[in-house]
């Protein structure tokens, strides 16, 4: 179970991530800016896909957690963990970029509207998920605790997404996915779709790398726990107290 079927040092995921990042960068920089916001509107091409990856990651964490609870296979636990970690990163990125955009557009870095508040809560709850995973070294207990939280915490994803529709918020409602069709210049819609697609590919490559790492981490933990050699290892020799001549 702890053997490495795949080569953990494979380079191609890094290349995929770099290419996806470059595609997003070129697309975001070549499209015309919004007439009112100006250059600031380019933040959207990273902010929106980051928020999408947060949703996707936490959705995958929920699925993998449920699969763990059903199958009790630690491979599902590693997938849930990896996805949650990536999700926390992209939630943080979406919040940070949103703050930069908000300072220039709204005039404030932060305000307690429903969308912002619920996103911040989601960020901290998933940080809590990662913290929960460090409460024990017992792989099965850790996986079980995390899986329960991984399933329950996903309720926040629809709350965050629909907050802008359910309550009057300062944050604008979705521009593209709305009943009347996109309320956005077609060139921007295409650019946004390119960036969302690139980020999704990036997510897949990151998952591949992170799961490999999780497998190594688990293998190290198991090796430590089954270690029957001297407590301090071979390098340390017990002092000879017999006196001698």
């Amino acid at each position: 179970m702890t053997t490495l079927e795949r080569n953990p040092s494979s380079v191609w995921p890094w290349i995929v991530m770099a290419v996806a990042g470059l595609v997003t960068f070129v697309a975001a920089m070549s499209v015309s800016p919004d007439a009112v916001q100006g250059q600031l509107s380019r933040i959207m091409y990273v902010h929106v896909p980051s928020a999408w990856l947060a949703y996707l990651s936490f959705g995958v964490t929920m699925f993998a957690s449920a699969m763990y609870l059903w199958k009790r296979d630690l491979a599902w636990d590693r997938r849930a963990h990896s996805s949650a970690e990536i999700g926390v990163f992209f939630t943080g990125l979406a919040i940070s970029l949103g703050m930069i955009w908000g300072k220039s557009t709204w005039g404030v870095w932060w305000t307690w509207d429903a969308r912002l508040t619920l996103t911040a809560i989601m960020f901290f709850v998933y940080l809590g998920y990662l913290a929960l995973r460090r409460t024990t070294d017992d792989l099965d207990a850790r996986a079980k605790r995390a899986a329960v939280m991984g399933v329950l915490a996903v309720i926040q994803v629809p709350l965050v997404h629909f907050s802008v529709i359910w309550w009057q918020t300062l944050h604008q409602p979705p521009s593209i996915i709305k009943p009347e069709g996109p309320d956005m210049d077609p060139s921007m819609v295409v650019t946004l779709l390119i960036s969302v697609l690139s980020f999704t590919v990036m997510y897949a490559a990151m998952m591949y790398k992170r799961i490999d790492l999780a497998r190594i981490e688990d293998a190290v933990l198991i090796a430590e726990q089954t270690n029957t050699g001297p407590a301090a290892g071979e390098a340390v020799v017990a002092p000879d107290l017999s006196g001698g001549s």
Partner: protein, 136 residues
Amino acid sequence: MRKYARFIVPAGVIVIALGFLMVNLSSTLVYFNTPAELQARDASDARLRLGGRVVPGSVVEADTTVVFQVEDCDTSVQVIHTGVPPQLFQEGIGVVVEGAWTGEAFESDTMLVKHDEEYRVDDEDYDKVDHTCSES
């Protein structure tokens, strides 16, 4: 069965707590009042937020104040804003102002520009309508 109870009980508690929070917080989760909601209130010193669209042609700038109308689909309210409005402030744009309702006008000292979901390359292409109206 015990195995499932350990999962279902905390899940139930969380769902009930969350539902309770949502129902009770719903009014506070609303970030601002619409002009119609504001007019339904009595004048008071309470600090409120008013959101809507700056009526084109209504903006009058003086030394330290800006006076304009904020509208939604139904009605409009006069805003007397003290201070320098944000850079993006202009006629037809969405704003959220913070201040007190005197019964006749809204006296604000803080203004946020609310960007709506419209994105256009050309300023001419902006359809300059209040999107919140399309729902009702």
